[in-house]
Amino acid sequence: MGQTINGLLRRHGLLLAFLVFLGGVAVNADAFLTLGNILDVLRQVSITGMMALGVTFVVLTGRLDLSVGSMLTLLTVIVVDQHNVAGPFLAIVMTLLAGLALGAFNGLLVGFVGLNSLIVTLAMLSFLQGLVLFYSGGSNVNIANAQETWFKVFGRGDFLGLPVPVIVFLMGAVIAGFVLQFTTFGRRIYGVGGNETASIFSGIDARWTVFWAYVVSGLTTGVAAIIMGSRVMGAQNTIGQGYELTVLAGVILGGTSLLGGSGSIWRTVIGISMLGFIQNGLLLLGFAYYVQWLVTWAVIIIAVWIDLGAKRGRIFA
């Protein structure tokens, strides 16, 4: 019995610590465990979560995607702006295509040119931020007919009592999880991330695998941008700033390895949701919003540390 508790602590220590935190917040902030607040958090999480689904593909191949923050900004600006110009349907199509194209561009540079993914996507992060200003001329855009457009359903709608963005996110998660677990593409992702050389010896084209992982990441960021645009009904030039780190944090917190080859979608869903509740809890406890950042990274370091410590049976190297 003692042993099982010990084992449980070691394996799920992080989850337990999280539950303790939830309990602590719930006692101190009455609003925390209300249905309204929980749905709010989930609504929030649906945007970062959607992005994290695609980034999980990239991380599983052993690469990074830091460009998704600015990509979200650019795509949100595009969807909002085009909504006014071309109408909601075409705006959505264009946004998704733009997401695919940006992902493909990342994938080209990392997969085929063979450049370091950290450098490529960091450069893209700042390049796209510049492109946003170029595109918008520095002014914020808003959706003109915010009250009438059916476009609002993605960010603000409800279906069977659940927010539509949450439903979109969960459906995305189910599809992404299915692709990774049950398709040949998923297997190639895990193969390349686990051992690229052995995968090449097994006839897997690592370049294409990496390419498609980035394309998925661009696509999910496109979907996130649609939710974002619909929720805010407008787009500031900095709307996605910092999202790349939140997303990466969620993926890591879930336990997907940055070295590639190990991790999963359900881990990302858990990680990003935990992060959402932690940040919301801190706000409700009255901490300034920037405290989120301090705590987020402290949580991640501790999470990774606990995980490593449990694996090697020692706290220090």
Binding site: F182, T183, T184, F185, G186, R187, R188, Y190, G191, G194, N195, T197, A198, S199, I200, F201, S202, G203, I204, D205, G261, S262, G313
Partner: protein, 503 residues
């Protein structure tokens, strides 16, 4: 007699989830003896030695070192106590110098933590000289051959004045000359009173160099015998419960159409003008010393490397140099040289590793067919008697030999037309080894073309219908039924080397 014992293992047990790797194991090592540890793949040899070197903590039992019950905290602690493990897979830092590697983790520093470079060099030099190494302390380890890297590890024995040195399959990637050198070194250590543990699947080596033999089987000690008072049959019976006929079975020489022909394949700096062909039902051996360029040649044919020049003919018609995907789809299979780097995705289980090169065969409309995967996994688990707890046990947790068997499985399962085996029995136990030799013969008799690369002469002669000798990137001689012999092979390879040296 008792005080001769330098290290004693008392009733050690070690369990991993699903396996009892060591079950109440006791044995001892005397000063100045070479003690063999033998047993099938997965018998627990490496695990036992890792327990001595502080890499595994035993569940129960103790280690008595120099008469005192001792706890070994970790590899560095072991080294500083005088117990040195030389790994099955070498574990040096390729970017660091020889001297830095010898003292890895125990560099001499002054009060401020600054490395004392001169002292480090001086001590390392002394250790290297004592072993008679032909290289200095400043060389970057990544530039050394496998044998030289091993010498760097052995130099730690001098540097830390080791009392116990453990060799885990040290000759797996050594040439015969390098092996002789290693044995010379081992005898030197022995003469100085060092207790040595020697793990190997090569029985001739065991009978050559060791004084006593301890046999492990399924984690239990079957017994310890004096090498001089036993023989191969007896030891084999202790290991696997039966004796082995030491004959090689060669496939019946009935050849069909040509499957692959290589014409003038060249890659600057690696190999030049390599030409040969192989037919259905034929086993072609590629013999040569480690570094002769055999692996480069087959990796180029398979498409993992690019060639500068040369033609390839597949079933009679010329083809462009293929990509690995095209090679596999044509029916080519390559069991690569290095199982950990090239052969397996270590985090995956046997099931996923086996299907990895043939995802299309194991799927419909891109959906993986798990039932089919499991069936194939089970088929090869029993056909090759692979020891694993289940289809999804990460192969990183398997013993070296059992990993190698999964590399074979993943290439056999799609019924190739041509299978290229690069050192297929490296690290494989005697029982499974002869099973693999039989398998090669069977495959050829089923009409496959087979290319076998091996540095073991009896193996290459035993399984092949024809043998090509390679040296320094060129085919230097070809032998057929009539003139295939050890002498001729040695002659071809060494004669050519002499020539090259003179030129």
């Amino acid at each position: 007699m008792m005080d001769d014992v330098i290290l004693k293992v008392e009733a050690i047990t070690k369990t991993f989830p699903g396996v009892k790797a060591l079950d109440d194991v006791s044995f001892d090592i005397r000063r100045g003896e070479v003690h063999a540890l033998v047993g099938e793949n997965g018998a627990g040899k490496s695990t036992l030695m890792k327990a001595l070197a502080g890499l595994h903590k035993p569940d129960s039992g103790q280690i008595v070192y120099q008469g005192v019950p001792t706890e070994v905290a970790g590899p560095l602690d072991a080294r500083q106590k005088g117990i040195l493990l030389i790994h099955q897979e070498l574990s040096l830092s390729p970017e660091l110098s020889v001297a830095e590697n010898i003292y890895l983790g125990a560099w001499p520093t002054n009060r401020f933590g600054v490395l004392k470079k001169r002292e480090l060099r001086r001590n390392a030099s002394a250790a290297l000289e004592a072993l008679g190494c032909g290289f200095g302390p400043d060389v970057r380890v990544g530039t050394l051959s496998v044998a030289m890297q091993q010498m760097v590890e052995i130099a730690r024995a001098e540097a830390f004045s080791a009392n116990v040195v453990i060799f885990d399959e040290p000759t797996a990637s050594l040439t015969d000359t390098e092996k002789d050198q290693l044995f010379h070194t081992i005898r030197g250590l022995k003469a100085r009173g060092v207790g040595i543990v020697y793990i190997s699947h090569k029985m001739d080596e065991i009978f050559d160099i060791t004084d006593r033999i301890t046999v492990l089987r399924d984690g239990q000690v079957q017994g310890t015998v004096e090498t001089g008072e036993t023989d191969l049959n007896h030891v084999t019976r202790m290991m696997i419960g039966r004796t082995l006929d030491s004959f090689f079975v060669k496939a019946k020489p009935e050849f069909g159409a040509e499957v692959l022909r290589v014409d003038g394949l060249s890659k600057h700096g690696h190999f030049r003008n390599v030409s040969f062909s192989v037919r259905e039902g034929e086993v072609l051996g590629l013999y040569g010393l480690v570094g002769a360029g055999r692996s480069e040649v087959v990796e180029t044919i398979f498409g993992v490397r690019k060639a500068d020049d040369g033609k390839l003919f597949w079933k009679g018609s010329e083809i462009d140099l293929p990509t690995p995907r095209q090679s596999i789809d044509m029916g080519m299979a390559l069991v690569p040289e290095s199982r950990k780097e090239q052969g397996l995705v270590l985090m995956m289980g046997g099931r996923e590793n086996t299907s990895l090169p043939h995802l299309r065969l194991f799927s419909e409309l891109s959906l993986m067919n798990r039932t089919k995967e499991l069936a194939t996994f089970e088929k090869y688990r029993s056909a090759l008697s692979i020891k694993t707890t289940g289809p999804d046990q990460a192969v990183s947790q398997l013993s070296g030999g059992n990993q190698q068997k999964f590399v074979l499985a993943k290439w056999l399962c799609a019924d190739p037309k041509l299978i290229i085996l690069d050192e297929p029995t490296r690290g494989i136990d005697v029982g499974s080894k002869s099973a693999i030799h039989k398998l090669i013969a069977e495959l050829a008799e089923q009409g496959l073309a087979v290319i076998v690369i091996s540095s073991e002469m009896p193996e290459v002669l035993g399984v092949s219908h024809r043998v090509l000798a390679m040296s320094e990137g060129a085919v230097v001689a070809a032998f057929e039924e009539g003139n295939m012999s050890e002498e001729n092979l040695i002659d071809a390879v060494s004669h050519h080397q002499g020539e090259a040296a003179a030129a």
